[in-house]
Assembly symmetry: C2
Amino acid sequence: MQNRLGRQTVALEQPAVILSHAAVGGKQEGEGPLADCFDHLCADSFFGEKTWEKAESAMQKIALSKALEKAALPPEDLDYVFAGDLLNQCIGTSFSLRDFGIPFYGLYGACSTMGESLALASLLVSGGFARKAAAMTSSHFCTAERQYRMPVPYGNQRTPTAQWTATASGCVILGAEGDGPKITAVTCGKIVDKGICDANNMGAAMAPAAYDTLAAHFRATGTGPQDYDLVLTGDLGVLGHQIVTEFFQQDGVDMSKNYQDCGMLLYDIQKQDMHAGASGCGCSASVLCGYLLRQMEANHLRKILFAPTGALLSPTSSFQGESIPSICHALTIEK
Amino acid sequence: MQNRLGRQTVALEQPAVILSHAAVGGKQEGEGPLADCFDHLCADSFFGEKTWEKAESAMQKIALSKALEKAALPPEDLDYVFAGDLLNQCIGTSFSLRDFGIPFYGLYGACSTMGESLALASLLVSGGFARKAAAMTSSHFCTAERQYRMPVPYGNQRTPTAQWTATASGCVILGAEGDGPKITAVTCGKIVDKGICDANNMGAAMAPAAYDTLAAHFRATGTGPQDYDLVLTGDLGVLGHQIVTEFFQQDGVDMSKNYQDCGMLLYDIQKQDMHAGASGCGCSASVLCGYLLRQMEANHLRKILFAPTGALLSPTSSFQGESIPSICHALTIEK
């Protein structure tokens, strides 16, 4: 029996080791403070393809290929890939993986997908069901805008609480053995919906889910923010980050010292005029695969709590007056 | 180390036991040959809700509630639910699960979702990561038609190869111990795309994926069709069923005796004018949770190979001229 710490959290007796990771980004990502952390940057939003959807697939192909290359592995050595994206029917993923021939479990976790894919890949590697597995996701500003909001050329004005969907992809390859950072605990989130209906204020909608999962992870593992070099939510942005901090403050837990949000790290929010910050599956994925894991490898970070958040709405559910169900999955990653 | 039979297949040393199952259906399903096998039938396509999307969520809520009731379990006893559907951003699932408070991993596998959810739930239960877990999916004729094809009131004419999306949901609850049918082997599919572009001929698009996964499962487990009371693909319909049969014939494998397709079982195809048969996540889910598992409990079937198939396209990918990537996951279920 595995070391189950309560209902949501598993402490991995056999940790899953990060063998390699790769991050891909677009123009804005290349102009931001983390530009140097990307393995591949492309200023062309089409990534050489004819449509933005095909560009998103191309990003995932590059991320997976780079991660395989860095681990010196052929695709045949991967037993599974866990992946998904924001596009209807997750076509960014299905078309990117078409030519790799890797057994595939498709996910939909909105912007929590990097957490979900890492969680499931870790559990399967840890349980001996896979020797090596990949976790991957992506988002693209232009595909997300035209699917969720307005046609891009329309130049729709954005509200102050709005976030900017990252044009980015991240891929991690996990194995049972190695010297890289290890995933040692996984918490699966529950859907939390506090009644927020404003699809331009995802940070507020997702913050209660982030709080719920982080609190569950702290309780189950007997840790607090002080036990991590950094606690990171996915893409709550400035407002959601503030709400989570306040929620914990009410519990007497101080998150002010080492809590960050990936949506606040990817861009220079002021200079790049990014309103509340970055969002999209590719945000937390590329911040992890580009910045955070490099920081761990350089020993600047030794133990982090990574908790991507997702808003499980659709334009249809919003049109039908529904509020925004959200979710967050959390992982302890340490050296 | 688990008993990995090659790259795609795991034989579960600790099988996952089916504790309960429930099937929900709509009007056409209640007029078909499997009507008596449903736990809940509703002739109102709105299931008492204001929109079809909310009706689809209602179906999943009923399926999960019925399955919990039949296993005499409260939602708190489930460590995970694995679920997804065909709707953009899988809102059928996220809104159905909002009030249950069960840790949730969202999936997108198109019509293969019942196979994918059962596979992952089985692996996590078998590996000791969960005591009990649910696998669930749904589809709804009216939500699928308006999302993938034409507005329903338009009365669009259907081609002879077209299938009818089932208005149905199925839910299975798995545990580590019990007397029910057991999941003993799981094969994860790869994406297969042979270049079919006709979104009204999903059977032909998905058949090569079904063949690929079934052949991998046979190879890895050292079995053939003769070792099962019944081999079932998900929702290939009449044409896809014929193609799979012919593919195996070319290999000298006789599938003519005990191979069926869920899409051919759910309706009386002639009388109900269902063209090539049923499709949708809810098709294989309700045929399994309604008909097949009851047949196993009555000892009419003792060992089956259940292999739901999914077409990983979207209207956008079709508009952009892409072919249809497909996938199939397979499970051995036996008493």
